[in-house]
Structure formats: C-alpha cells, structure tokens
C-alpha cells in the first residue's frame, strides 16, 4: 500500500452563517481517479477550492503528499502550483494566445526562460491535441478547445494532482467528448484526478471511485460498479436514478 497523495480530514467550510462543508474526509491514492457527484449546493466545488486553498477550510486539515497544507505558514502559492485546477468557465487569460496561456505560468511561476517555456507549452498543447491552435486567442476557440487549453495550462505547472470543477458543464453537448477524451488519456497516463462531474459515462469508464456528496457531507463512496448498481443509501440511489434519466 503506497501512502496517499491527498488526505482530507474533517474539513468544514462556512461563509458567514452558511455552513457549506460539514466535516468531509477523503483519502486519495496516487494515480487514482475520483469522481465527485451530488446535487448542486452539496459542496463539491467548495471542496475542490478548499483542496487547492483558493478558499481555505474554516476547520479541518489537508495533507498533500507528506505536507500538511492547511498548517499555518505554508506557502500557499507553492501548494497551488502542485495542484492543477480546471474550471467550468475555462477562465483562459483573454489577452493571451493559447500558447501564451500555457507559457505565462512557466515563465512567472516556474521561472523558465522564454525558449524553454515555449517548447514545453507547445508540448502541452500537443498533449491536448491543439498544437495547430497555439497562436489563436481564446475568443477564436470553441468551448471544447478552450477547455483543452485550460487543461494544458494546468499541466504545464507539472501538478501532482488535478482538480476538475465541472469541466464539461459549460459546453455544448457535441463538444464534451473531446474534453472527456483528453481527461481519459490523462487518467491513463497515471495522473491523480478529482473530478466534479455529471458525466456518468465518464465516471463509469474512468473513475476508480465515485463519491456521492449531499448537504456538505460524503453520503457514500465506492467503486463505480457499486455506486451505479447497488448503492447502499437510498439518497444515493435516488440521485443517480434522477441523473441517469
């Protein structure tokens, strides 16, 4: 048994009086693909933002590899560099080309020289199948292409874990396939991934584990087979039945 890459222990998150996460614990092994499902407002996205400290938890602890990242005095920028994140709305930098989007982190954060950064950025764009769009601006790309550039941008930082926050929810149905294919390829290469998604086909095929959240807690988790075919909890069953229709 290898040591976990990510360990989340009793994480709480409140915004004022709004208690979004009410004690979530989750352990992720290296190379594992975990799909988080649950109704909207259940705290899935909040959990992702707690993990990369964009919105640090109000209570609880998180370890990334053997470092407690919720400990006081931790360099949060360094932590975020090791945790890639892909957003529902892509959030590509609008003033930069696809290549520029991938390069900027390499230059500013990884302190690479421009030539080096360009080569690596091209390599990452090739990985997501967009080398031929390197010099396009975000506005000139389709939604699916934008999301693939966003994935390349995250990969450029050489993350140890990738978080996906509903990566296909803002896409037209015919464009989700290309993004899911890239994600599947990444999973095949051994990337550790936590994915918030309603793509049950993806969960079934790619996930090692499906975690069902509701009301700020983990209700049930298990293999896709267990979760889709014989979930223990009635709430899990009801939710999945609903979403499959």
């Amino acid at each position: 048994m290898t040591s976990p890459i990510l360990r989340i222990e009793d994480v709480h998150k409140s915004y004022g009086s709004l208690h979004v996460l009410k004690g979530v614990s989750l352990t992720v092994q290296p190379r594992e693909v975990v799909v988080l499902v649950g109704p909207s407002g259940s705290g899935k996205s909040t959990l992702l933002r707690c993990i990369n400290l964009l919105n640090p938890p109000t209570k609880g602890r998180i370890w990334l590899e053997d470092q407690e990242i919720t400990a006081p005095g931790v360099n949060q920028d360094r932590v975020r560099q090791r945790i890639g994140m892909v957003f529902q709305e892509f959030n590509l930098f609008t003033h930069l080309t696809a290549l520029g989007n991938v390069m900027i982190g390499l230059i500013k954060v990884r302190k690479m020289r421009k030539n080096e950064a360009r080569d690596l950025a091209m390599f990452e764009l090739e990985r997501v199948g967009l080398a031929d769009r390197a010099h396009y601006y975000p506005a000139q790309l389709s939604g699916g292409q934008k999301q693939r550039v966003a994935i390349a941008r995250a990969l450029g930082m050489d993350p140890h874990v990738m978080l996906f926050d509903e990566p296909t929810s803002a896409l037209d149905p015919e464009l989700t396939g290309e993004v899911l294919a890239v994600m599947q390829k990444l999973a095949g290469e051994g990337m550790t991934m936590i994915v918030v998604s309603h793509e049950m086909g993806f969960a079934r095929q790619v996930a090692n584990r499906v975690v069902f959240m509701e009301g700020g807690v983990v209700v049930e988790e298990g293999t896709p087979q267990h979760m889709f075919e014989q979930p223990t909890h009635e709430r899990t069953r009801a939710f999945l039945r609903n979403i499959m229709q």
């Binding site: 964009l54 975020r80 890639g84 994140m85 003033h95 500013k108 506005a139 995250a154």
Partner: protein, 217 residues
C-alpha cells in the same frame, strides 16, 4: 497680401516654439497621472481598507479643486520649500489632478476584468501581485484605453493653464504676439489650429492603439 502672409509666418514661427512646451507639459502630466492612477487604482481595489479610504479621499479632494488652484499651490506655496520651476510646478500639478481622474478610470477597468481571471492565475501558483501584474493589469489597461484617451485630450487642453504661472506654451506665446502686434485674430487663430492639430493627432494615435490592442471577448 504678401504682408499678411509675412505676418502669419512670423506669428506662426513665434507661437510654434510653444508647441514643444505644450507637448512636454502634457507628456509629464500624463505620465505622472498614469503612475498615480495605476498605483492608486490597485490600492483602491486590492489594498487594505485604510489604504482604500486614503485613496478615495485623495481622489475626492483633488477632483473637487479647480486645477488652477493646484497649480497655484505648487507654484506659490510648495515652491518656497522645494525648488520648482514654473514648468515643473505646472506639469506636476496637472499630473496630480489627472492622477485622481485616472485612478477612477483604472479602478473601473480593474473591476471590469472578470473575477475568474484572478482565480485562474492564483490556481497556477501566481502570487496576488504576480496575478495583478501579469493577468489583471494587461487586461484592465486595454479596457481603460477609450476613457484614458478622453482624459489625455482633456489634459492636453488643460495644459494651457500653466500659462498662468508664465510657462511659455502655445497660448502664452499667442497672447504675447497678440499684445505686441494687435492682431489677436491671427495669434489666437494660429493657437487654435495648433491645438486642433495636436488633439486630432493624439486621438488618431490612441484609436490606432485601441484597435491594435483590443481584447477579443
């Protein structure tokens, strides 16, 4: 006819020497105003609440005072303690005044940059300052260009105010010629044409920059 042409040429030659002064005053004022504007806008949006209040106060007070008053304060009051030539007193005063307006321009532009841009920048490990520098500001400056261009032409025209402390810019020289030759029409006509040309060139240049750097959304 020949005489009129001669007069025009002499008048023009005298006044046009003020062109460079007008351009310099405007350039200094815009540069000072730009620096103040960008720094204060960042402080206003991202700074500590106390800093935000201080910036708001600066902006409110400066905008409430006529520019000519600021020029006089610098020239008659401050220059007793710091060695300031009329040129620098005037140009700096215009810069401080413009800085207040530019603060508002850049504040609005920074706030118009989508919040996801900052979040995405932080997510790849940029510090707040790096994200502001490399992601937010480049977009905000582009968004600010139309309003900034307008401010630039206003400062160009306000540069005539330094005339009051004796800086030999276009208007000052026009007034001198007019007093000497008793031909106000010719003198101020030339001044008018010079300002018109300056403003037109400035707006054209800014429009070109705007087109060149337009954000595609």
């Amino acid at each position: 006819m020949m005489g009129l042409f001669q007069d025009l040429l002499t008048t023009f030659n005298f006044i046009v020497q003020g062109l460079w002064v007008t351009i310099s005053v405007t350039a200094v004022a815009l540069t000072v105003g730009f620096t103040i504007g960008v720094v204060m806008a960042i402080a206003r949006v991202y700074g500590h609440p106390a800093l935000q209040t201080a910036v708001s106060a600066y902006s409110v007070v400066i905008r409430a005072v006529p520019v000519i008053v600021i020029i006089f304060i610098l020239f008659f009051v401050i220059s007793r303690y710091v060695n300031l030539s009329p040129f620098w007193a005037g140009a700096l005063a215009l810069g401080f005044a413009s800085g207040a307006y530019q603060t508002e321009i850049f504040r609005g532009a920074i706030q118009a940059v989508q919040s996801g841009q900052m979040i995405a920048a932080r997510a790849i490990g940029m510090s707040r300052l790096q994200a502001i520098q490399s992601i937010v500001l480049p977009q905000a400056l582009r968004l600010a260009l139309p309003a900034w261009g307008n401010e630039a032409t206003l400062v160009l025209k306000d540069s005539t105010l330094v005339f009051a402390v004796g800086v030999p810019e276009i208007l000052r020289r026009a007034q001198q010629v007019s007093a000497r030759t008793f031909e106000p029409f010719l003198a101020f006509g030339v001044a008018l044409l010079l300002y018109l040309a300056l403003t037109l060139i400035t707006t054209q240049a800014l429009q070109w920059i705007e087109r060149r750097y337009r954000l595609q959304v």
